[in-house]
């Protein structure tokens, strides 16, 4: 066993949950290896192209499940590369959620007040900035004007986008060609590399096992850079501390597969998955009514016809983020762009006499695509998701060379979740159908079930061992030295975009990991310096594949 490579910390995954501790620990003197399943792409790779094999399919993973489908990042930088960069803090009430089981879901140590300093650190690091109305795109403006017309408020959403270089191309789900979106490729990841972290793309971790001295071995396959179904090799790494941050659709699968050698996992590993209560509605806008009722004009004779233009979600309705409302009555509504393909298939034609999601009437609404307005609901679901037995490798069986796979997650929405969706749907209609502004339909859940771009809670923190897999330091119960710092650690749906909260929790977890490293004979300083801002996401030349 002398030929097994050893390091101080192995980080599985390079999204917010992985890149943040990788930087902090490397800067503090630890030897850090990051194993990332996807490729390492940067701005020059982020082509504006729908073709299979372009950045859009290389960097994404669409994992189909039974009743729940997860869209997430699959590249160095993880979700930060493909996200829309909307970065609101979670409202105060969310940390007091009790869910359908009526028990506190969050650890007592985590509240909005205790998390705010960690949010501040992330906000400076990315950075995140307030948007003002001159940044709000036509689609965000239309949504805001409709909210105002309905007697409601609407907020420009804080975002990790450099407004001075953004060109409003709306290709950001395929990565940002212009490095305007502040992904992790522009801050934590280059800083981690600068401090010696070894980031290894196309390394798919399969399982963990234990060493005789209480450390861990991480077993991985390497995969082909074009056809991710093809295994090109594999290996083993050893370290006293492992950080699992493979994303909420993969972290529990790796841990479940490790159970045979590591021993029993906490019951909450692979349970309590939340899709962040997500759901989409598409409005087909009546251009004439937009002009007449809302007085909107682009200055070129068009009232709207601008679905394609923008930078994802920029405007949100937070009227129902009201802590005095009961659970499952609270949600945010966010104007959103979703590109063709994934962004159209589930949209339904209003008033359809035949099938609503395909066929003649669907084609008619597709022809009016520039007059679409998509509204993203983030509500409170009931943590219904459960992972079945792990597939042979990875977190899912791959169907396509890239992007499309089928995983073991099942999800049956409870009456609470369904009622929350219905209330939110009604809220969207109340705003957007008023005075004939548009016709609105929710995306169909009959075709593939529910879906989320923000998978959460499948290996969550908490105070109660019965319903949480991690303690409030993010350490896996019963397996000291294993930490989970990605979206799977977030206990429940947040009613807002979760990336900022995932990042803040990862920052908050670092001092505890530093302490554990010290206990395990690896002296590491806790470093508070910001990672700094790179001007280019260009990939460093030093690669160890």
């Amino acid at each position: 066993m002398t030929d097994i490579e050893r390091t101080d910390v192995i980080v599985i995954g390079s999204g917010f949950g992985g890149a943040i501790p990788a930087y902090r620990l490397a800067a503090g003197g630890a030897r850090v290896v990051v194993l990332e399943r996807g490729p390492w792409l940067s701005a020059e790779d982020f082509d504006h192209d729908f073709r299979f094999g372009s950045a859009g399919t290389r960097a994404f993973e669409f994992t189909m499940g039974d009743g729940m489908n997860v869209l997430g990042g699959n590249c160095v930088g993880g979700g930060s590369v493909v996200y829309f960069a909307a970065m609101p803090r979670a409202p105060r009430f969310t940390f007091e959620r009790r869910g359908g089981i009526g028990r506190p879901l969050w650890p007592g140590a985590v509240t909005r007040d205790t998390l705010d300093p960690w949010y501040d650190i992330v906000a400076d690091a990315l950075p995140i900035s307030r948007n003002d109305w001159s940044d709000v795109t036509f689609s965000g403006g239309l949504f805001a004007a409709a909210c105002a017309h309905a007697g409601r408020t609407a907020n420009p959403v804080p975002a990790a986008v450099d407004r001075s270089t953004c060109v409003n191309c709306n290709w950001m789900m395929s990565g940002c060609r212009f490095d305007a979106k502040r992904s992790l490729l522009l801050n934590y990841i280059p800083a981690a590399v600068r401090h010696g972290a070894d980031i290894r793309p196309l390394h798919e971790v399969q399982r963990l096992s234990r060493t005789a001295d209480g450390g861990y071995r991480v077993h991985y396959d390497t995969v082909d850079e074009v056809d991710y179904r093809v295994v090109t090799g594999g290996g083993v790494l050893e370290a006293p501390v492992v950080i699992v941050a493979a994303g909420a659709a993969a972290t529990p699968v790796i841990l479940q597969r490790s159970e045979e050698e590591l021993g029993a996992m906490p019951a909450a590993v692979g349970r309590y998955f939340s899709g962040n209560g997500e759901r989409l509605n598409t409005a087909i806008v009546n251009e004439q009514r937009v002009r007449e009722v809302l007085g909107l004009d682009r200055g070129d004779g068009r009232a709207y016809e601008a679905y394609q233009i923008g930078k994802g979600p920029v405007c949100a309705s937070w009227d129902r983020l009201d802590g005095t409302l009961p659970e499952f009555h609270r949600h945010s509504l966010e104007q959103l762009y979703f590109p063709p393909g994934f962004g159209t298939i589930l949209a339904q034609a209003p008033d359809a006499t035949g099938p609503s999601w395909f066929g003649l009437e669907k084609k008619e609404i597709l022809r009016r695509w520039q007059s679409w307005l998509t509204v993203f609901i983030m509500s409170e679901d009931d943590n219904e998701g459960v992972f079945g037995p792990p597939p042979p490798t990875g977190n899912a069986e791959r169907i396509s060379q890239q992007m499309l796979s089928r995983g073991p997650l099942s999800y049956r929405p409870t009456a609470n979740t369904r009622a929350g969706w219905e209330r939110a749907d009604a809220d969207v209609r109340d705003i957007l159908e008023r005075d004939g502004l548009s016709r609105v339909m929710p995306w169909s859940n009959d075709v593939i079930g529910a879906y989320t771009v923000h998978p959460l809670a499948s290996c969550r923190i908490g105070d109660d061992p019965e319903i949480s897999a991690l303690d409030d330091r993010h350490e896996l119960r019963g397996h000291p030295g294993v930490f989970v710092t990605d979206g799977s650690a977030v206990p429940a749906g947040l009613t807002v975009n979760p990336a900022f909260t995932i990042a803040a929790l990862a920052e908050r977890a670092v001092p505890g990991i530093v302490a554990t490293l010290a206990e395990r004979g690896v002296p590491v300083r806790y470093v508070t310096e910001a990672p700094g801002h790179a001007v280019s996401s260009r990939r460093p030349d030093r690669l160890a594949v």
């Binding site: 803090r89 099938p355 084609k363």
Partner: protein, 189 residues
């Protein structure tokens, strides 16, 4: 019929084209076109490259297309028997169904209570993507060639360097009151 369909026979290609045309219908390619029902104006999924996409090595569906075509024709035969339709033996059974019957059959195959739902939905996804993304080709080339779906959607084109930019993007004025509890940083309280 199509060079790219070298691994499928003409009958299988027709059946799969008829399926794609049921998902996003279009006008016929010519007077002898049986696969495309001609139920809608403008090009549909078939002329947008649905077969190219289904057959692409990247997509992962190519290996099961022959069994999907066979399955579709079996279902069409059963549908015709149940509904008393007589099918023209000159074309595959699914192609022989009139457009409303193709639609009705596809609705049952893609319904939540159909055991085969997942595979028919996958085939539908590729059909939709062919029309609204032209994913068998580079997007700039598809647009330049007048791709039927992207064109009918009004998908705006790129700058000369092949990248999209929208210099005009905002109404540029306050359009709603912000939530009274918004924090100084712009977050929910």
């Amino acid at each position: 019929m199509l060079d790219i369909a070298a691994d499928l026979d003409a009958s299988q290609v027709m059946t799969l084209e008829a399926y794609a045309d049921t998902i996003i219908p279009g006008e016929r390619r010519g007077p002898g076109d049986r696969a495309v029902a001609g139920a809608a104006t403008g090009g549909g999924a078939v002329t947008s490259g649905a077969l190219d996409l289904m057959l692409s090595p990247e997509g992962g569906l190519a290996g099961m297309l022959d069994s999907l075509a066979a399955g579709l024709d079996d279902h069409a035969t059963g549908y015709a028997r149940r509904t008393g339709r007589t099918l023209d033996p000159a074309v595959p059974p699914f192609v022989a169904l009139p457009f409303p019957d193709r639609t009705a059959l596809v609705a049952t195959l893609t319904a939540p209570d159909c055991e085969e739902q997942e595979m028919w939905v996958a085939l539908a996804m590729f059909s939709v993507m062919a029309w609204d993304t032209g994913a068998a080709d580079h997007t700039t080339e598809a647009l330049a060639a007048g791709h039927p779906g992207l064109t009918q959607m009004g998908f705006a084109g790129p700058d000369p360097d092949g990248l999209w930019r929208f210099p005009s993007y905002s109404y540029g004025r306050v359009l709603a009151p912000v939530h009274p509890m918004t924090t100084p940083l712009g977050d929910p309280a």
